[in-house]
């Protein structure tokens, strides 16, 4: 619950988003803060602590899955599989191994693997169009009680999100994965590199190339239609 409200309180207080990545990083700030304690509790009593892991990480895992797969049903399946696999893995690990885990990259790796499986199956059954979010997916950054938001403003914001979702979905998988982890989920570069099992420099390059491609798409969208040639 806390993450969305937290970000909004900052925004409401007029704190500017200075660093670009701050936007995504701050959103999951409470998650990061709580992870050390959660790890210790998972090592102590997995069954007692696991529900807290689900509550703390379900939004980010679902977000990663949705932005990788595009379809809400597929995304829910991948996120559910990932959390179930995480539980079974934790149940088979000893205390020392659990204590060494870093939940954010570790869970990201699992959900990306599930996305590959679900995505491959989807590919054999025929692709679904990239779904626009509609009402099915409540953005994490949406205020609980939008006082000033007029229906048109809300609709415009949703339309803008949908456009970005479609652009993101059009990126090559490697770039999209890097951008989803770094800028949608808000992992640090070291965390994203760990999650992807690639060198940090590679992930940075993939993010940058992805951003460059997104800009190209934006420019193409805003370029005016060429005037009809007259002779």
């Amino acid at each position: 619950m806390g993450s969305g409200a937290f970000r909004h309180s900052r925004r409401a207080a007029g704190v500017p988003w200075t660093r670009a990545t701050e936007a995504a990083r701050t959103r999951f700030y409470p998650v990061m803060d709580a992870d050390d304690r959660l790890i210790a509790d998972l090592a102590d009593d997995l069954d007692a602590a696991f529900e807290r892991l689900v509550i703390a990480h379900q939004d980010r895992l679902y977000t990663i899955a949705l932005r990788m797969l595009g379809d809400p049903g597929d995304a829910e399946e991948a996120a559910q599989d990932a959390l179930v696999r995480a539980y079974r893995a934790l149940a088979s690990y000893d205390r020392a191994r659990i204590a060494e885990l870093r939940l954010r990259p570790w869970l990201s790796t699992i959900v990306l693997n599930r996305c590959r499986t679900v995505g491959a199956r989807r590919a054999t059954r025929g692709p679904k169009p990239v779904s626009i979010d509609g009402d099915a997916n409540r953005p994490i950054t949406e205020p609980e009680a939008p006082e000033a938001a007029t229906p048109t403003a809300v609709a415009e914001r949703h339309a803008e999100r949908d456009r970005w979702a479609v652009r993101l979905a059009a990126l090559p998988t490697a770039y999209r994965t890097a951008i989803v982890l770094r800028h949608v989920d808000g992992l640090t570069y070291p965390e994203a590199a760990e999650a992807l099992g690639r060198p940090e420099g590679t992930v940075k390059a993939q993010v940058h190339r992805g951003i460059a491609l997104l800009r190209t798409m934006l420019e193409a969208e805003t370029r005016p239609e060429p005037e009809e040639m007259t002779a």
Binding site: G4, W17, T18, A20, T21, E22, A23, A24, R27, D47, F50, E51, V54, I55, Q58, D59, R60, L61, Y62, T63, L66, R67, P72, E76, A79, Q80, L83, V84, Y87, R88, D133, A136, N137, R138, P139, I140, T141, R157, E160, R161, W164, A165, L168, I179, H183, V184, D185, G186, K204, A205, V207, H208, R209, I211, A212, L214, R215
Partner: protein, 266 residues
């Protein structure tokens, strides 16, 4: 190369805005799948009328007579320490249970028996071997699981069976041949289920009253538990009731290898 390309605040905010909340169903689906939360639902058809079945990703947790849902949830929480939420019984599970109630022992129904002792699980696993339409005394289970003196403990374990009808504790009767107690609503329900399975509880208890514990076949010289299916086609003139295995042995009868009668301990 544009390796030093920096993301703008607008782009960063737009991308961060793509984070969404997980569907409200995700948490419970995960917890049920790993066995930290249960679901329960109603099954309409059974020899005892509507049932409530609780399950999770590990297996079936409990079977009870349908009744007040809140009372069931409270009992479930006390018994398992887990929350149970109302749901539709998945078709596959409902079909499997229906087939099991019909007497099909090959259908596989996973059970979640965590939290129960190894002894209890041994007793229930043994009860699963008793075919539909047959009964065995408590002492038979005790002997079969290698604890011949634990007859009372077997009775207690069967009384604690969380999945009656699926684990057919109704097919275990008193060692003196009387029908005995039943956890799922009392002895009259046990008689009802046994009748449904083709037995005649009144006739069984009349035989018990006459002291007839075992049934021999004069042509094969084999002695069985009275309901053993190997004796189902025995001719009336070949029926030889016995009061004990010793009596049958003295008369030259050997114990059936299918139903494995034992000397009744209690």
């Amino acid at each position: 190369m544009t390796t030093q390309l920096e993301i703008t605040d607008t782009e960063a905010t737009a991308l961060a805005d793509l984070a969404v909340r997980a569907p409200s169903t995700l948490r419970s689906s995960v917890l049920v799948e790993v066995g930290l939360m249960d679901r329960y639902g109603r099954i309409d058809e059974s020899p005892l009328g509507p049932l409530i079945v609780a399950w999770n990703g590990v297996g079936v947790v409990s079977v009870d007579l349908a009744g007040d849902q809140e009372a069931f949830e409270a009992r479930h929480l006390v018994a398992t320490g887990r929350q149970a939420i109302a749901a539709e019984v998945p078709t596959r599970l409902a079909n499997a249970i229906a087939r099991r109630l019909d007497g099909d022992r090959r259908v596989r129904i996973p059970l979640d028996l965590r939290g129960h002792t190894g002894f209890e699980q041994d007793v229930w696993r043994k009860a699963l071997e008793i075919p539909r339409g047959e009964v065995r005394p408590y002492g038979w289970i005790a002997a079969e699981i290698g604890r011949p003196k634990a007859v009372r403990a077997v009775g207690t374990a069967l009384g604690h069976n969380p999945v009656p009808l699926i684990v057919p504790c109704h097919r275990v009767v008193r060692s003196d041949g009387f029908i005995g107690q039943y956890s799922l609503g009392g002895p009259h329900n046990k008689r009802a289920v046994l009748t449904e399975e083709g037995l005649d509880p009144d006739a069984m208890e009349s035989a018990a009253r006459r002291g007839e514990r075992l049934l021999g076949c004069a042509s094969t010289k084999i002695v069985c538990w009275p309901t053993c299916h190997t004796g189902r086609h025995m001719l009336e003139r070949n029926r030889r009731p016995f009061r004990s295995l010793a009596e049958a042995g003295a008369a030259g009868y050997r114990p059936c290898k299918v139903c494995r009668p034992v000397a009744a301990a209690a």
